[in-house]
Amino acid sequence: MKKIKIIAGICWAFAGLILIIILFPGLTSFSRSVSKLPFMKLNARYTGGEIAKQIVAENCTLNIRKPVFNGFLKERNSGFVQLDWHGTIPELITDSVDYDRDGNKDFIIFVDRKNSKTALDPLNRKVKGVDISTATSYGWAARIGLLK
């Protein structure tokens, strides 16, 4: 029994040595495999959710994402909808948004990019206010707080 334990210990230690030696040369391929695991995707609270609607203007595109109410075990009562403006965006943005796609406008958003000021005109009681409104590398993004 003692000998078996010694041999098993040494084998495990050498397996560790091999693992460390192959770790760095194989890192790219190991990481790629790990990234394919079913849970290896960013939560919608970070990505902003899937794009639900795209409004294309002359030189600018507005992506309206699906509302995010993600919670740990069940959906939350409050969430947000993310809007992304790409392309050549005007200094003053005014857009009416129907985030729940019921055919009625839910809010009007005003963004003064030059002064980094954002205002919101809620047309739906579920629209709470502006959570985030900021310049991004692709243009501008805003998150509007919502109630479920």
Binding site: G16, S31, L42, Y46
Partner: protein, 383 residues
């Protein structure tokens, strides 16, 4: 080299030490240069040669002198400093600030670090998603690569990751070495269980909030990496908390106690690595036949892994981070690196050589990029 440095127990002759260093020399050369060294740029070449020589000289000295912690700590501290230097330097170049903005969060551009892993487990199970605004694959410090690096290292090294792989540990390790004698000698034993409480708290709060709460509110190392832009009372409070924790647990207490207090009392990853110590093939072993119970090892252990009761029982607790400080301090060579299954006091040199090769190789390769980049930056500043 002063021959008095060499211990009769574990030190080797010059030639034998060179022989032991040779495989490390070859492997680090391959990993640092990719097998094709490029000496076209003077600063890059000098940085590469300096980093390469540094790691190999330190490894040689570990074999030649028989001392582990003394030389491990040099690379470990340089790793921590160089990683912070590289990260801050990059951030200042790209963002002109150490803080990240809301846009960086929205665009998921935050570098991932292993400390987030304990917080992402529950959400990964229940929501099948990762709660961090970083990149899953590709880019700087992506989530998949860091998970792979940590997972393999912690399975092989156990809590040894905290002394050989963690790029933050060098900070409090460094500060714990400043004073010759501790000003505070006794801290309650119960405090070493604190990381488990922190782990439980951050794992649950992160799951409920779908937010890595430790990174967001507590992590002291934001002081030397990156932090949220201060734009509100909330972000200012967060900055106050992490700066206080950095000042208290990473600087003041390590200086006063000569212990790694952040690692011992706060780090949730330390708690996870403590559990993986049970899997790791390597451990520290006490040879009861030789031990005189002088308790010198208990006194020097930086992570409260040894108690007089442990020494009397001839066992090292799971809190051990395998730094080697106790091994270096034992004049009787009663405490050594060991391999699970091999009885204490037998195959000491074999166990130590194998552990040193594995752990030092991980640290040398993992740290190489940031050390080379730091040396490059410093050389450019000088010339």
């Amino acid at each position: 080299m002063d021959n008095n440095l060499r211990l009769t127990g574990t030190g080797k002759t010059f030639g034998k030490s060179l022989l032991y260093t040779f495989p490390m020399f070859l492997i680090t050369f391959m990993f640092m240069t990719g097998g094709r060294p490029n000496f076209s740029d003077l600063a890059s070449s000098l940085a590469l040669i300096t980093a390469f020589l540094l790691v190999n000289i330190l490894y040689f000295l570990m074999h030649y002198t028989g001392k582990t912690d003394r030389y491990r700590a040099v690379l470990f501290i340089i790793f921590a400093l160089s990683l912070s230097y590289t990260l801050i330097h990059n951030m200042l170049e790209v963002r002109r600030s150490m803080s990240f903005s809301q846009a960086d969060v929205l665009e998921c551009k935050i570098p991932f670090c292993h400390l987030v892993i304990p917080m992402m487990i529950l959400p990964a199970i229940f929501t099948k998603s990762i709660i961090f605004p970083g990149s899953i694959l590709g880019g700087f410090a992506d989530i998949s690569s860091m998970v792979v690096l940590w997972l393999i290292a912690t399975v092989v090294l156990g809590r040894g990751f905290c002394s050989w792989g963690c790029f933050y540990g060098g900070w409090d390790d460094g500060f714990s070495r400043i004073r010759k004698k501790p000003a505070i000698k006794k801290i309650g034993e119960l405090w070493k269980w604190m990381p488990f409480a922190v782990l439980l708290m951050v794992a649950l709060t992160s799951a409920v909030a779908l937010l890595p709460t430790y990174c967001s509110w507590i992590c002291p190392f934001k002081a030397v990496t990156e932090f949220e832009q201060i734009v509100s009372v909330e972000s200012a409070t967060k900055a106050g908390i992490f700066l206080s924790l950095f000042g208290g647990l990473v600087i003041a207490l390590p200086v006063m106690t000569k212990k790694r207090t952040q690692c011992s009392f706060l780090c949730p990853m330390g708690a996870v690595n403590t559990l993986s110590n049970k899997i790791s093939p390597f451990s520290i072993k006490i040879d009861k036949k030789v031990c005189t119970e002088c308790m010198k090892c208990v006194e020097v252990c930086p992570v409260y892994a040894l108690t007089p009761e442990d020494i009397k029982a001839g066992k090292v607790s799971v809190f051990c981070s395998k730094c080697g400080k106790c091994v270096d301090s034992c004049s009787k060579h009663a405490i050594n690196y060991g391999i699970k299954g091999i009885p204490a006091g037998t195959m000491k040199n074999f166990s130590r050589n194998l552990f040193l090769f594995v752990s030092f190789l991980f640290m040398a390769v993992f740290s190489a990029g940031s050390i080379i980049s730091t040396f490059q930056g410093l050389l450019k500043l000088i010339f």
